[in-house]
Symmetry: C3
Subunit: 350 residues, 3 copies
Amino acid sequence: MQYTLAALVKDLDVTLQGDPTCLVSGVCTIQQSRPGYITFLINPLYRKYLPKTQAAAVILAENDAGACPVNAVIARNPYYVYSKIAAFFTKQPAFSQGMHPSVVVGKETHIDPSVSIAPHCVIGARVHIGPHVTIGAGCVIGNDVQIGEASQLAPRVTLYDKVTIGKRVIIASGVVIGGDGFGFANEKGVWHSVPQLGGVDIGDDVSIGANTNIACGAVENTVIEHGVKLDSLIQVGHNVKIGANTIIAGCVAIAGSAVIGKQCMIGGASNVAGHVTLCDGAVITGMSAVSNSIQQPGIYSSGIVGMVPHLEFRKNNARFHRLAQLIQRVKVLETRVKETIERVTERAKS
Amino acid sequence: MQYTLAALVKDLDVTLQGDPTCLVSGVCTIQQSRPGYITFLINPLYRKYLPKTQAAAVILAENDAGACPVNAVIARNPYYVYSKIAAFFTKQPAFSQGMHPSVVVGKETHIDPSVSIAPHCVIGARVHIGPHVTIGAGCVIGNDVQIGEASQLAPRVTLYDKVTIGKRVIIASGVVIGGDGFGFANEKGVWHSVPQLGGVDIGDDVSIGANTNIACGAVENTVIEHGVKLDSLIQVGHNVKIGANTIIAGCVAIAGSAVIGKQCMIGGASNVAGHVTLCDGAVITGMSAVSNSIQQPGIYSSGIVGMVPHLEFRKNNARFHRLAQLIQRVKVLETRVKETIERVTERAKS
Amino acid sequence: MQYTLAALVKDLDVTLQGDPTCLVSGVCTIQQSRPGYITFLINPLYRKYLPKTQAAAVILAENDAGACPVNAVIARNPYYVYSKIAAFFTKQPAFSQGMHPSVVVGKETHIDPSVSIAPHCVIGARVHIGPHVTIGAGCVIGNDVQIGEASQLAPRVTLYDKVTIGKRVIIASGVVIGGDGFGFANEKGVWHSVPQLGGVDIGDDVSIGANTNIACGAVENTVIEHGVKLDSLIQVGHNVKIGANTIIAGCVAIAGSAVIGKQCMIGGASNVAGHVTLCDGAVITGMSAVSNSIQQPGIYSSGIVGMVPHLEFRKNNARFHRLAQLIQRVKVLETRVKETIERVTERAKS
């Protein structure tokens, strides 16, 4: 796979500085640049690597172009341009087109002839799979599922019944969608399962990372709108709604009936409590405990961060748990100081 | 699927207000109620939707019955009654009875003729599977496993060797039970695997959510007692014991050798440290760090919650990490105030 | 399976106290010791069980040997010695040698004749699998994968393309290695996938727990060095590097491009932020938020721990969020006290 620089940028809104016929055979980082490869400069911390780069070309912003010793692809949004150029060098798909004979398919299921289904998959009844969908080995798809055009399921994905997947959705290995939400009614100390009757609706251009779980709705559907990007090991509880183009990093736990707006960003390992609402454009930094709703766009955080030596941590914890005493000491001081000032003032008068 | 209201409540301890012959064809939420469907009122926040509901009937508590404009199912425990009525409208099982020819079965394994096993499962040796068990596609079951009557394994579940599953247990997709606990002995800077020889015992009526992992015991068995409900993406370490009818929400991490009592509740994304003990009836709110044992029933929490704008968060963090200085300032004040009061008092005497 | 005590310790650097011909048929805990079994004393809390043990023998340190009423295996590192002795009693592998006929194998793939591959696996093209590797049922292995000698994949593991696994690596069920890292470029409010072109390199003697996910690198490879032990439900983001003989407990989230040194220990449910660096020998206690780099070996922690009754927790939270006011009150006090002291001093002079 070799491309000229001109071919790589043909459809992109960029300015080429240097030789458009230069051949590129892959991408590299700017810290470990290699002759014949194209690299990119996005993080200012790595600007120091630019003057000595050996790459064939660098994708960068206009203000870095002057310092570039090799061919430059000058872009308003270099990371976006990098994403388009890197796509020329992606890995080959693991399995060729067509359905493997070991695949088991239910009744009244429609599979477009352009679909690829790898070995040992099981597809339920009344399923509809659109054109150019690829399904990795060992996937299990329930009844009444719909998968839109050009979506890709990695190996070992489970879609339960009544799951609807949009177009160009990317689902990583180990993902489970549409399993029962966590609903139990307590009667005399015993928990009774509350049937989870809803499905899951996944919009177009959604991406879902490995081993993430999205529960079905209790009555209505759990909804992931178009353009949402979910990382790995995320838990999405029943009835959750995630608005369009929201991005959520790994290990986030979203409890049932939470409603997350459009264009939100949630940092890794954060937790969103049940029934909480985040407005459009809410940004939550990593490791936050979102226990209350957010009404205004902006950046929000919670808790205590910052690593300290363990002994200091223990002292900090003790201080925190004695805050009530500290407040009491301040209160006593306030009273004493007030009294003392009064005495001093009184005496001054006398 | 249509039922009369009388049929739906036949075995339930409820009072019918209205027309018992009314036909019901599904369930709906009270916010989005639909003619011909039955709904429920449990959360007082939704009481405002009751007067205008278009549902065929509403399951509710006695004090709400007067405001109900349609048929009412009056119950002491409306959510429990809803769980029983909703069960009439659950999804159909994905696969019919019997064992698919692609299933591979080990030696000396007994499978009841009423069992359903979907394609591409692998069952080990000396396994015993009781009546009416259903096993979804792609499950892998090790040697010396027992599965009790009417238990249901969703697709893609792994049971390692020596796992015992009770009756009516529900296991969601991606669950792993009985894998090695995390035990390593350090010898000269290198970690050596400590063989994990125990199994896992799962009681009757347990429910386990998607992608949850339950490790085997190091020597004795890890034990999950009857009626325990575990949500998704939970980690249960080796040697853990969870008492009967305890309920644990998603993404909880339970470290090795923790002992959790009966009738406990643990909120989502909480962590339980190793060797910690929770007494019966301990309730842990979500996102807690359970680093110490709990001896008395009650509701417990830890840490800091509450989202604030990021700038305020940074200031709060700085204030927290300077608590030692604040305490020192208060101490200095206390000394100065004491001295000043003494001086003032002394002078008053003179 | 029965062994003499002498046979069990033949290759170990220990001292035998008692009868070397004593027969041992398994291991037990010291709390629940059984005749004919060997047990161990490591945790000083369990020393009280030693005088009354009914076990055939006890593995212990020299200073406990005097109190041992039965045969004793005296060791410098009793837990390590236990790990070697317990290995005599491990479970039998689930599947016998050879490749099941249902396994699908791609082109130009080399599989050593000593390899065991259980049913319903799918192996890609240009894969190399070394001697004595065992692969559990339902595993899916992509293209261009290498698996070193004597490594063991449990059932239902996914290796994406370009993953390299060292020798004697143990991978538990549900693990996903080499899936896309979480990289998206925002252009006009829409997230565009950034191709993830790197692979994953796993060194020798690594262990990876159930349902853990290790993402591939964005450009270069994600790297797990030799001897690393990862527990279950861990997330390892793209470009992460984990140094040799580091051990990480369950549910830890490691964000992209974090660099973790050698011989580190990270406690369960901790989170490591992106691009953070931990030096060799850093120890992070459980439930920590590692938001900054660590430059010196030692034990580090963050945040607040300690369970308190919920009402106290709410008060603590309110106090924390009012720290600014408390600091202001102290500041006011300081000014007033200073002024009062000045007044008193001035008057004393007059």
